[in-house]
């Protein structure tokens, strides 16, 4: 017999022994049992799982500091109440009284230890009147309205405040209260209040002495503008007022086209730019002569424009009548 075969036989039987010896302990651990060497019995236990942000928090179990830091799994706990506390320097501690049940895992995986002195970083490098974040492009827009000099300055930066630069410089002031919306192609910005719409080009030419004229200003006929949306073509605007839905080309001299007249003062408009569809509420008269509150959608993509129920006052509906 080769000497290697003898060694192999020893290794084989050793492997079998190790398997037989380890298996009961691994299985009992897996199933949540704890072996008590004094009583020679297995007792069913529970588990506490703690995960915190930031990590590496000190863990106290019944006021006793554990060796392990978070994230931590505390195994083989006999059923009962445990006082658990997480601590990390410079942060508020987290603590709870946890009821451990036999054969159950108590999970606390969304713990946040908030800092005692939160870190606040200034992002803008110039004066600012209002800011706005465009998630799609990952840019912050900073707008400063210099009312004394009748100027509006628009700057952009990334979300960490880096790459801070001027995007546009427009003569005029911002009518208040104001709202801002970037065109889908990111080349134009509109700001508006209840009676005026302004659209500015964001293609800044790099020379801070050159003032860019507003791309487009539109004075609404009444003080009733409720909301404005960009059409996906970045050229049309959808104006929702207290009594109508209108489409407007974003260029000087454009006239609005009324798509629907509304009875409700606030139609809670929502515009889905992916399908160019306007969702809104309105009160319309039903065939029984009564007014009912309904939710409508107005599709603006391609040939579906004006596809509204016949009771709506639209140009198309009026002509049909």
């Amino acid at each position: 017999m080769y000497i290697e075969q003898r060694i192999r036989a020893i290794l084989f039987y050793l492997s079998v022994l190790v398997f037989i010896a380890i298996l009961p302990f691994i299985l009992s651990f897996a199933l949540g049992y704890k072996f008590n060497p004094k009583t020679l019995q297995f007792t069913k236990t529970g588990i506490i799982v703690l995960k915190a942000q930031p990590g590496s928090a000190a863990v106290y179990l019944n006021d006793k500091l554990l060796d392990a830091k978070s994230p931590v799994t505390i195994d083989e706990l006999l059923p009962g109440n445990y006082q658990v506390r997480l601590e990390i320097e410079g942060h508020y501690p987290w603590s709870d009284n946890i009821q451990v049940e036999a054969g159950k895992v108590s999970r606390f995986e969304k713990i946040i230890l908030f800092p005692l002195r939160p870190q606040v970083t200034q992002l803008n490098q110039d004066r600012v009147t209002i800011f706005w974040i465009d998630e799609d492009s990952g840019l912050i827009y900073y707008v400063y309205s210099d009312n004394k000099n009748n100027q509006i300055y628009i700057y952009t930066s990334d979300l960490s405040g880096q790459r801070y630069q001027m995007a546009a410089n427009i003569s005029g002031t911002i009518p208040a209260p104001v709202s801002w919306k970037l065109s889908p192609d990111k080349t134009k910005i509109l700001f508006f209040n209840s009676r005026q719409v302004r659209v500015a080009s964001l293609k800044y030419n790099g020379d801070s002495d050159v003032l860019l004229e507003p791309y487009f200003i539109f004075d609404y006929r009444s003080n009733s503008l409720c909301d404005i949306f960009w059409h996906s073509d970045s050229f049309h605007l959808i104006l929702v007022s207290y009594n109508s839905v209108e489409a407007l080309e974003a260029q000087s001299g454009a006239r609005p086209v009324e798509l629907a007249s509304l009875n409700r003062k606030n139609p809670y408009p929502y515009y889905d730019i992916k399908t160019d569809t306007l969702y809104f509420m309105d009160s319309q008269k039903a065939p029984d002569g009564n007014l009912y509150e309904n939710v409508y959608k107005l599709e603006m993509a391609g040939n579906k424009v004006f596809d509204l129920p016949s009771q709506f006052k639209t140009k198309a509906n009026e002509e049909n009548k």
């Binding site: 290697e4 192999r8 084989f12 492997s15 190790v18 799994t73």
Partner: protein, 495 residues
């Protein structure tokens, strides 16, 4: 078309049916009782880790032995033995599509071996259906015939009755021609050791000395096959990582098997007594896994008194690869599937056992179990570890993750499988030590690349872990028999 009776069909179905039953059982259990499934998975994980550590230990022992014996002067050891003068080597190279660039190095390796060439008879066994076979045979005869005591080229006719298109049929045809040649030279068949090598096999210089030494010193030398350690060194520096790692694993598997003598079976290039080969009616002519079936034929012929003697010397072959990575993966998959088709040995063996009452029952049970277990393990282990292990958590629902075993299953699996990293480290070191000298046109940084390549092992396990074996067993189970497909061997340098 093979004629098969019901008993044979049942035997063909058994391996695939067991493998699929194991997989389906696990999936079913994960659905209906994830806790039980998790318990079985943990037991399997532990078994697998201990097995891996055990086999890695065997690999270290075998490797150490190979290192110790590889450069021993076997010729000096063998030529002083009684009977050495009578021994002749018959070397058969079955050739299919291989070209001169593959065949010449194989013949050069014979010339460079430390063994008298006047005791070597070389048979280049061509397939007649190959159009340029006679031209290649003529060129090789002109270049090499004068170097050996005998050199013949044979041309195996296509479509002989009862034959499949496989290596065994070609080798058998060549061996029959060689027998005529040997007898015509007045040599005794019992004094001849036959080696059947893949066409790309380059023997180590000490191979024939080592073989002769073991033949002359083994009890009942005719009742043994002699198995060298196959390494895939011929083109290993140029082969892509995927193919290289798969072939290194194959070499290591053979080294491990060489330590498990009671289940050691011939594989690929090997040697045996020519007398025994003639007595058992040569290689099978209608089966793909001729290299292992020939062992079982001898095992049955000698009523179980037949063994494989490991030779701690190497034969070097080509890594199967292609210029495109996808084609390389496909080549490797196909090659492993052909090897896994060795599962056809199971029905062959059981049929043989049924006809042979002289083999003890315990031997029959043990050998049949070993054969079946190795093929089934091959077919299911990667599926269990990679696909079934996460199922209890995925299918167990919220309740399962709220109980200790649901929470502990991935933890325990992770910890246990981390132990395989130790085995991986050993394998990486050994793989580096087994490399042939670095060619001049390969940069030194390639060593580092070769170590880093082991990161892709999980990807390899996914592709050539269980899938080829499961594929082969399923085909056998469904009666969709495989045709022999020679693995494409290339020796181009990577651009």
């Amino acid at each position: 078309m093979k004629k098969i009776n019901k008993f044979e069909r049942i035997l063909e179905i058994i391996p695939g049916a067991i493998s699929w039953a194991i997989i389906i059982f696990f999936v079913f259990l994960a659905f209906v009782h994830p806790i039980t499934c998790a318990v079985i998975l943990i037991i399997f994980d532990l078994y697998w880790i201990i097995r891996t550590i055990y086999l890695t230990s065997l690999l270290i022992i075998a490797y150490q032995k190979l290192l110790r014996l590889l450069d021993k002067d076997w010729f000096a050891e063998s030529n002083v033995l009684s009977g050495f003068e009578k021994i002749h080597q018959l070397i058969i190279f079955p050739v299919y599509k291989e070209g001169l660039e593959i065949l010449r190095p194989s013949l050069d390796a014979l010339i460079n071996s430390h063994y008298p060439k006047n005791k070597m008879i070389v048979v280049m066994a061509f397939e007649e259906r190959r159009s340029d076979s006679r031209e290649i045979a003529r060129i090789l005869e002109l270049e090499y015939a004068g170097n050996f005591s005998g050199y013949i080229s044979t041309f195996h006719p296509d479509g002989l009755p009862g034959e499949g298109r496989n290596k065994g049929a070609n080798a058998t045809w060549a061996a029959k021609k060689a027998k005529e040649y040997v007898l015509s030279k007045g040599l005794e068949i019992s004094d001849i050791i036959v080696s059947c090598f893949d066409a790309d096999t380059c023997v180590h210089p000490g191979y024939f000395g080592c073989l002769t030494y073991h033949f002359l010193t083994s009890p009942n030398p005719h009742q043994a096959s002699y198995q060298p350690m196959p390494v895939y060194n011929n083109n290993i520096w140029y082969a892509p990582a995927f193919a290289r790692l798969v072939e290194i694993s194959s070499s290591f598997n053979q080294l491990i098997e060489s330590m498990r003598l009671e289940r050691f079976v011939t594989f690929s290039s090997h040697s045996m007594s020519f007398k025994t080969l003639v007595d058992i009616d040569y290689w099978p002519v209608d089966m793909i896994s001729d290299d292992s079936v020939v062992y079982w034929k001898a095992f049955l012929h000698y009523d179980g008194q037949y063994r494989v003697v490991p030779l701690y010397t190497i034969v070097s072959m080509d890594v199967a690869y292609s210029r495109s990575i996808f084609k390389t993966i496909w080549l490797q998959y196909r090659q492993k599937r052909r090897w896994a088709w060795g599962v056809e040995n199971f029905p062959f063996l059981i049929k043989g056992f049924a006809k042979n009452p002289r083999i003890p029952l315990i031997t029959k049970v043990r050998r049949a179990y070993n054969l079946l277990e190795s093929h089934i393990t091959w077919a299911v282990w990667a599926v269990i570890l990679m696909f079934i292990a996460p199922l209890p958590i995925l299918l167990g629902g919220a309740h399962f993750t709220q109980i200790p075993i649901g929470y502990n299953l991935p933890r325990i699996t992770g910890i246990l499988l981390n132990f395989t990293l130790i085995a991986s480290f050993v394998i990486i070191v050994l793989s580096m030590l087994l490399l042939p000298p670095r060619p001049k046109d390969v940069k030194r940084a390639k060593y580092l690349v070769m170590v880093m390549e082991w990161i892709i092992v999980p990807f390899i396990i996914l592709i050539v872990g269980s899938a080829p074996a499961l594929d082969a067993q399923t085909r056998l189970m469904l009666g969709r028999y495989m045709e022999f497909q020679a693995t494409e061997k290339s020796r181009f340098k990577k651009k």
